[in-house]
């Protein structure tokens, strides 16, 4: 299969503008007849469904949640990037483009990323118009902060709840279309299969989660915006319900999964506290603006802390190793996520971890509190302020900036982060890989589109902070509404798709059979226990550091686990009722295949890049070593049941950026 990325000709900066101006359109009278299914109503899905509804298409939107407002986009904390240059610090579309390609370790498509940087500015405008309450300066203008991997301040934010506010904006825009009747909303519906007619995506099979009914929904095309697959690791910062099923069903119908091994491990999460743990909680990257990461230099200090005889504050300044500042003086604590995570792992592997499990490092705000306290004392005209006063003033500033994050930390750990340094450790957070899409965001299955985290397109091997929100909204508000016309303009003569077409009946039968098979196993182990075991295998062999032997072992283990699952899983209840365990079982079944594909991809990629770190490929200093000669491609995999996945390559071309070893030193 030849993968055609359909990148328009011309100068990089002109591509999108020119393409947009010459794209095929669908006339309003035809739009009214054309149906579009949007699966997933997070940032990408809700913004797409709303915008397509505004344009006049007949949209059917699906979410497995009880309301679109619960999508996991809501949990994004830190912010959204945009090349507005409001801070006059030298930002530009090109710089955002450059930072993103570099941050992604040169494994993304130039043209896609440039388009993303271009429309980033429109996103902010759009969200402001929707009354998203972004943080503002005293003069009333929008405020910015910095995120990892960049040297400008381009991140827009709404306290520590930016994702929530942006999602509510999109949800409200979607609600408006629902009330106008242009979007029909299907809550508590989970997509369980893709239906193709004559090779084109023409609908989905969905399970009504309340009644268990298997429903057939037809449309002229299908848009997937179903998020990432980080939950394959069991423990991640993803929501409990986040899953790969919709995307994986598409893969089983011939869509290609691109770069599945690129997983983002976020450096600042609350460490695991016990076996019962169900998920990990992220502490926003924005904390690294002011927090300093360190571990004790001396092993005896480490032991004292682990045994509770000392705490972080007891360690003298000279006995601390601010390892990020030491290793990466240019970016310091604001190195990209993959770099920061690996550095934390290295520190812990060397025996410097600071909690009982040995898997935690300090994130310390003491010096920020002092710095802010002094500046606040100065601006309040307090001379010779006491250190207690400075601390008090500084804590107030820190509270204003990160109050809700500090509160969340205290709720979970029971420790006060204003007084004691936080303990953090990396955790799975985002998956850069996803369904392969071309420049139109269309997969290799005609009429099937993928947006947001669900596709692979913009972040290469590592995503920069505050770029997920940007990509989700870019795809939904400003890309798909145009590019979908490239497909639909050829469909204006296609009558309404009949959901009683044999293809639908066949797919529905298959889905029912799959469910019956799961319920019929009647084994002895819970779905949860399989998921936990899968997560452990993935983390151990395909986590922050990978190697050939481990990956081979891991693959075998997953294959065995999958067999065991289908032979011994116990799913209570029946199919024709509200049955959360069955929902989970269907998702875990797909994770068990996806996990294997991730391992296959990681095994195949003999280099280290971004979130994919192969221990065999590193420099003397322990930094990742890319192999541009052999691996400058997108690995798009076709899944073969009970066989080896088949690799299709899309070579990446870099005409505007010079490929360099990524350095943040």
């Amino acid at each position: 299969m030849k993968l055609d990325s359909k990148i328009p000709k011309g100068e990089l900066a002109e591509k999108w503008t020119k393409y947009r101006g010459t794209m095929n359109l669908v006339a309003p009278n035809n739009k009214r007849r054309i149906e579009i299914i949007v699966v997933g109503t997070g940032l990408a899905g809700a913004s797409a469904a709303a915008t397509l509804g505004e344009l006049g298409y007949k949209v059917k939107a699906f979410t497995f949640h009880d309301s679109p407002r619960r999508a996991h986009s809501i949990a994004a904390q830190g912010g959204i990037n945009a090349a507005k240059n409001y801070q006059n610090d030298g930002d530009s579309v090109y710089r955002l483009f450059y930072d993103t390609v570099k941050g992604g370790d040169y494994r993304s498509r130039e043209a896609n990323v440039h388009r993303l940087a271009e429309v980033s500015r429109n996103i902010i405008d759009q969200c402001v118009a929707q009354a998203v309450p972004f943080a503002r300066e005293y003069g009333g203008l929008l405020a910015n902060r910095s995120f990892g991997g960049v040297q400008v301040s381009r991140t827009f934010y709404a306290r520590g709840q930016t994702g929530q506010q942006l999602l509510l904006g999109a949800y409200q825009a979607l609600s408006r279309q629902i009330s106008r009747g242009s979007v029909t909303m299907y809550n508590r519906h989970e997509m369980l299969d893709l239906v193709k007619i004559d090779g084109k995506a023409r609908g989905i099979i969905a399970r009504n989660l309340l009644t268990g009914e298997i429903e057939k929904h037809a449309a002229h095309c299908v848009v997937l915006a179903t998020g990432g697959y980080g939950n394959v690791f069991y423990l991640s910062t993803n929501a409990m319900g986040s899953n790969v099923t919709a995307a994986w069903r598409a893969v089983s119908k011939g869509a290609l999964m691109a770069n599945p091994c690129y997983t983002q491990i976020h450096p600042t999460c609350i460490p695991v506290s016990g076996e019962y743990q169900s998920k990990l909680t992220l502490m926003s990257e924005s904390l690294r603006n002011d927090g300093r990461v360190w571990v004790p230099k001396k092993k005896e200090d480490v032991m004292a802390i682990r045994e509770g005889r000392k705490n972080g504050n007891d360690i003298a300044e000279d006995d601390r190793d601010y390892y990020l500042e030491r290793r990466y003086p240019a970016f310091g604590n604001l190195v990209p996520r993959d770099v920061a995570s690996r550095a934390a792992k290295t520190a812990c592997d060397e025996g410097h971890g600071v909690n009982s499990t040995g898997l935690a490092v300090f994130l310390d705000f003491a010096s920020a509190i002092e710095r802010y306290g002094k500046s606040e004392a100065h601006s309040q005209g307090i001379e010779n302020a006491s250190s207690a006063k400075i601390k008090e003033l500084g804590e107030a500033v820190v509270e204003a900036k990160y109050g809700n994050l500090f509160e969340m930390y205290e709720k979970i750990t029971g420790e006060n982060p204003y007084k004691m340094p936080m303990k953090i450790y990396p955790a799975v957070h985002y998956t850069m890989g996803g369904l392969w899409v071309d420049y139109n965001l269309e997969t290799n299955v005609p009429g099937l589109f993928a947006l947001g985290e669900c596709n692979f397109s913009d972040h290469g091997a590592n995503r920069l902070g505050a770029s997920a929100l940007m990509q989700g909204l870019a795809d939904g508000y400003f890309v798909i509404p145009y590019t979908i016309g490239q497909f639909l303009s050829k469909e204006i003569r296609t009558p309404q798709i009949d959901h009683n077409d044999p293809a639908f009946n066949h797919a529905a039968k298959e889905t029912e059979a799959r469910i019956d098979k799961l319920l019929g196993v009647k084994g002895n182990q819970s779905v949860e226990s399989f998921h936990r075991r899968l997560g452990k295998i993935m983390w151990e062999y395909c986590g922050m550091a990978r190697n050939k032997e481990g990956l081979e072992k891991g693959r075998k283990m997953i294959q065995d686990l999958r067999k065991e699952f289908w032979g011994d899983v116990f799913v209570p209840g029946t199919s024709k009722e509200f049955n959360p365990e069955l929902e989970k079982a269907l998702r875990v079944a797909d994770f068990l295949e996806m996990g294997e594909l991730m391992i296959v991809d990681a095994h195949d990629r003999n280099e280290s890049c971004g979130g994919h770190f192969r221990t065999e490929y590193r420099s003397a200093e322990g930094e990742a070593e890319r192999n541009d000669e052999d691996y400058k491609y997108v690995a798009a995999w076709a899944w073969i049941n009970d066989g080896d996945p088949v690799l299709h390559k899309e070579e990446l071309e870099f005409n505007n950026i010079e490929l360099k070893t990524r350095s943040y030193k």
Binding site: S47, S67, V128, R159, R176, T237, Y276, F478, P572, P580
Partner: protein, 249 residues
């Protein structure tokens, strides 16, 4: 720690439902939902049906979790959702009663799961700014006073969990509705259609079967995002003004 759990079990909306008692061993570092996970694992091990409850993000922002714990929505800790409530707030030997949100407008689906679509309907009635994609001017074209934006944010922090309705002896949705009206009305972009918005959202709220506000203030106390009932007063004010200003006879 050893606990006794009294959990509401109800097969579906029509079933009468009753409490079921469980003994459970928990760690104080667990979140309340992780304790419920342990319970469900035990039930599944015994081939019994697990307790259905809603949850998703488990970091206090998606608004899915919904349990009334010892009579209080989201339990005893203020400003905290059930998923962020940790067992260290309970004592060894405690008996904990867990019930679903109770309100006619939130019918029970199963066990602790209720149907909160009524909230979506209220938002659909006008909880938005009528602006299409692509119609926006530059983000900095209209400066907004920092404190004003911050007030709007306080109201916009609502996670739509429904604890306000659950806590209210009248099952009133005033805090939810008022928070959205305040968020949008305090921003210049949302100000323009505020009169129409407040009339139609309030009407929808009443049509959905929520009760009337009697200012008990329970909603404000139990709101995990600590949204103030000053927003309700604001809505009342705007509602009166909009009614008087309306051209409708």
């Amino acid at each position: 720690m050893k606990l006794k759990l009294k959990v509401w079990r109800q097969k579906n909306a029509k079933d009468k439902g009753q409490f079921e008692l469980f003994d459970i061993e928990a760690s104080e570092h667990m979140s309340f939902l992780e304790m419920m996970d342990v319970l469900n694992e035990q039930l599944i091990e015994k081939k019994k049906e697990p307790v259905a409850f809603e949850h998703d993000c488990r970091e206090g922002i998606c608004g899915a979790c919904s349990m009334v714990i010892n009579g209080q929505p989201h339990g005893p800790q203020q400003g905290t959702t059930t998923c962020q409530l940790h067992m260290r707030h309970f004592k060894d030997g405690d008996t904990i009663a867990v019930e679903p949100w109770r309100a006619k407008a939130f019918p029970i689906i199963k066990d602790l799961v209720v149907d909160r679509s009524a909230f979506d309907h209220i938002i659909q009635a006008g909880g938005f700014v009528s602006v299409n994609t692509g119609q926006a001017q530059d983000g900095n074209a209209i400066p907004i006073e920092k404190t004003q934006a911050s007030k709007a944010f306080d109201a916009a922090a609502c996670i739509g969990c429904g604890a306000c309705v659950a806590a209210c002896p009248n099952a009133s949705a005033m805090l939810f509705t008022a928070a959205k009206i305040a968020h949008l009305g305090l921003m210049p972009q949302g100000k323009i259609e505020e009169n129409q918005r407040v009339l139609s959202m309030v009407k929808k709220m009443d049509d959905e079967g929520f009760g009337k506000c009697s200012n008990t203030g329970a909603c404000e106390v139990e709101c995990p995002k600590e949204i103030s009932i000053a927003n309700i007063a604001r809505m009342n004010r705007k509602y009166m003004a909009a009614t008087l200003a309306s051209d409708k006879k």
